[in-house]
Symmetry: C2
Subunit: 107 residues, 2 copies
Amino acid sequence: MGTYTRKTPLKIDCPMEKTLHVISGKWKLALLCELNRGTCRLKDLEKYNSEASKRALTKQLSELVEDGIIQKKDYEVYPKKVEYSLTARGKELITVLEVLDEFGKQL
Amino acid sequence: MGTYTRKTPLKIDCPMEKTLHVISGKWKLALLCELNRGTCRLKDLEKYNSEASKRALTKQLSELVEDGIIQKKDYEVYPKKVEYSLTARGKELITVLEVLDEFGKQL
DNA sequence: CAGGATCCAGTGCGATACTG
DNA sequence: CAGTATCGCACTGGATCCTG
């Protein structure tokens, strides 16, 4: 982790390792929490995470898209307008994050 | 990241980020699963994770100890004998990992 | 046997500049 | 405005050696 991916995978392809991989990334939790409040454009996410580089945000957003956690809606206009939002699977992931949150409170 | 720690922390000190940090590390999930089956000595954990370096294992074990997830029992004999086992908090963490595991199955 | 010290490689991310 | 390319650093973990 960074998160983080095991180079030599476990013998049993491990589901919890997959989940961990999906949410590992410096800004992913923050991005997911913000998208859980509602659809966002990149510039909004940049504003909320003013310390993050654009490079990191776009990279992590594209990973989340690949993993089916969030989706893009490209309006194909100029200047560009693209909106990000949680998928159904992404909303399920939020409930998982709430479990992490509960546990984290006692740490 | 790898897991992994955010250098510039979130404004709100985020519990789920803490939990994620505690379980982020190349061998931590595997270690926790093995310790969940029962008390282990370092040499056993090395055997189960034959591809892991001793350095990585001891470092991650010590982090888990620091975070109150596992505990050491040092028999203070020679040659050394030290046993690792889950704490009460560690056992609670296992239930969290089961949630990650469930979610991971649909990925 | 437990585990620390040193050196090295891979990589995630920040800063910045650029394009359509 | 969204997204990419380049450069450079810092951090994690691997390999190896050494100690009590």
